[in-house]
Every structure is written in C-alpha cells, then in structure tokens.
Amino acid sequence: MSEHVSPVSLYVTIFLSLMVLTGVTVYSAFVDMGYLNFPVAMLIAGFKASLVVWYFMHVKWQSHLTKLTLATGLFFLAILLAMTLIDYTSKNFTPQPPPTDPAMAVQPH
C-alpha cells in the first residue's frame, strides 16, 4: 500500500526531467540518425513513461503483485506486436502504391 508519502521535491524533479526529455525528443527529431531516429524516440518515450509509472503512479512503493500486473500487461502487448511482426517482416513484401485512379476509391457509407 502506498502509505509512503513522496516529498514535493521528488515530484518536481521528475516533472523537470520529463520536460527536459521532451525537449531532447524534439531536438533529436531534427538530427538525421537514419533508421535510429525511431528507436531513439521510442526509448526516450519509454523512459519517460517509466518515470511516470515508477514515481507519479507510485509503483516503486507498491506490492509485488502490482508490479507483476503491470509487467504482465506490457509482456502481452509485446507479444501482440512481436508475433504480428513475424508475419509482416517475413513477407518480403514491397507495397505497391495503390491505383491512382480516384474513381476506384471506395465511398464511405
């Protein structure tokens, strides 16, 4: 149970870290790192999310069951993504641009 009370200074520190990391994310988007841009952005976002979860959402001081619950959710999200990608990465699929005839476009109902 979170009877633990965090000091205000901790919250402010986390807040400032999140702002700085946001700035870093935006800055790194303007730097050409080729295919690394995306993983870098995701890693920073993941780290920011971890800060929110660990400190703002108090998970650091919660029971093992709470931590296990969160880990389970992330694990199954990873399965969803990874196993779907098993299909998409092994197709050797080069998407062709769709037909350019606007008359072929489907009208919404």
Binding site: M1, S2, E3, V5, S6, V8, Y11, V12, I14, F15, L18, M19, T22, T25, V26, A29, F30, V31, D32, N37, A41, M42, I44, A45, K48, A49, V52, V53, Y55, F56, M57, H58, Q62, S63, L65, T66, T69, L70, T72, G73, L74, F76, L77, L80, L81, T84, L85, Y88, F93, P95, P97, P98, T100, P102, A105, P108
Partner: protein
C-alpha cells in the same frame, strides 16, 4: 502443510469501529485499498492493450508507407503538439501533488491541485480543438473532403512562400500521397480522438473527485478514489507521451 488457521473477524468483536468508507465484505481498509489498486491496474492493463492495437496498426503502416507518413506528419503543428505535451506533463505533476495533499490530510490543497489539473486538462482539449479545426479546414480528414494537396495549393494561392529550406520534392507522386496519407490521418484521428475521449472522461472524473474532496469524504486513511483517479490520469498522460513522437516527429530532419 500447516494447519494453523487465523480466525478472521468480520467486524463483530472489534474494539474500534471500522472506517465509514470500509465496505462490509472486506476485513479491513488496507485489504480494500489493496484490492482497489490491483483492480485499477488491471483496468489500466486493458487500456494498454486497447491503445496497443492502434499502435500495432500504426507501426506496420509506418514501415510500409514511411515516406507518406513523413509527409503527412509535417502537417501537424509542432508548436501545439509540444505545448500539449508540456501541459499534460504539468497536469501529471499537479495530479501527483493532489494525491499527496490527500495523503497528508490537506483538504484545501487537494481541491486546489485537482482544480489546476482539471484546468490543464481542459487546456489540452482546447488545443486539440484548434488542431482539429485546422485539419478540417485543410481538407486533411479522410472520408470527409480529403485532399492532401489542398494545403500546398492553399499556401501558394495565399501568397505564402515556403519557409527557407522547406521546399523539397517528396519522393511520392501527388496521387500516391493522396491515397496513402489517408491511412496516416485515419490513425491520427483515431488515436488522438480516442485519447481525447479518455481526457474528457478524465476531466469528468476530476470534477467528481474534487466535489467529493470538497464534501470532506477523504482523510489520511481513506483517499483511495483520489489515488485511483490519479492512476487513470497518469496513464492518459503516458499514452500521449508515446503519441507525440509517433505522430508529430516522424521525420522532421529533411
């Protein structure tokens, strides 16, 4: 195998009366609180997988149509997106402070921080309205009046020169862009729309909790609804932490 058994007391022979917020089917407030925390996290798990499905669709199409995604992403305003990110992170801070105020039995500041959080949430939603209006005006809504080249033509008509270094040749033809960028915007509206819906619910939740705090329903032993609402609010913030780079920062460096 231990046969040791504790005889649970369902509140009959207690010397101290149970807290008024304790429900009858729980043995004590601690058990009730722990149940609430696990329950709330399980609900957040469902939200992770709910948004997760959209992220999976996004990932796949981003790989397939990277150039189209990059082109379309540039239509989003980095200013508004960045501002909204800051607003939400700020609201997470104020939310955490509200929970802390409740923990320390500070009714006045529980209410204050909750109100500030609510206001920040409304600011976020207001900015989203601005952004959406811009999308509609620029014919960037799939299925409505979608015309990806409208924006460029519109700029030319109005006599706006492209910003220095802005003018580049996209690698796709206008027809290809017209077709494949619709997936990007469909995902943009679905993801941000769903997120905004969760924000609206969050704002509603904040108002309810603020009212409860004002009514004096919380004290240092029982502030569970504040904490649970906080968990929800932080989660919605986390979704945005991912949405921002994915939607606004696809390829800004060319």
């Amino acid at each position: 195998m231990s046969n040791a058994v504790a005889h649970a007391d369902h509140g009959h022979a207690r010397a101290d009366a149970p807290h008024p917020a304790q429900q009858h089917h729980f043995d004590n407030l601690a058990q009730q609180k722990e149940a609430a925390v696990i329950g709330m996290w399980l609900f957040l798990l469902t939200e992770i997988l709910f948004f997760g499905g959209l992220f999976v669709a996004y990932m796949i199409y981003r790989v397939w149509y990277f150039d189209a995604f990059a082109e379309a992403s540039r239509r989003l305003s980095l200013f508004w997106g960045g501002l909204n990110t800051a607003v939400l992170i700020g609201s997470s801070l104020t939310m955490a402070l509200a929970v802390r105020a409740a923990q320390t039995n500070n009714r006045k500041w529980t209410i204050n921080w909750l109100l500030i959080t609510t206001i920040l949430g409304c600011v976020f939603l207001g900015v989203k309205v601005i952004e959406y209006e811009d999308k509609f005006a620029n014919h960037e809504v799939p299925g409505y009046n979608y015309d990806f080249s409208y924006h460029e033509r519109h700029l030319a008509v109005e006599g706006h020169a492209p910003a220095a270094g802005e003018h580049r040749e996209p690698s796709l033809s206008p027809e290809q862009l017209q077709q494949t960028t619709q997936i990007y915007f469909s995902l943009y509206f679905t993801m941000t729309g769903l997120h905004a819906l969760h924000m609206i619910i969050g704002v509603g939740l904040m108002l309810v909790i603020t009212w409860m705090a004002w009514k004096g329903k919380f004290d240092a032993q029982y502030y569970t609804p504040v904490e649970m609402s906080g968990l929800y609010w932080h989660f919605v913030d986390i979704v945005w932490i991912f949405l921002f780079p994915l939607l606004y920062l696809v390829n800004r460096h060319i």
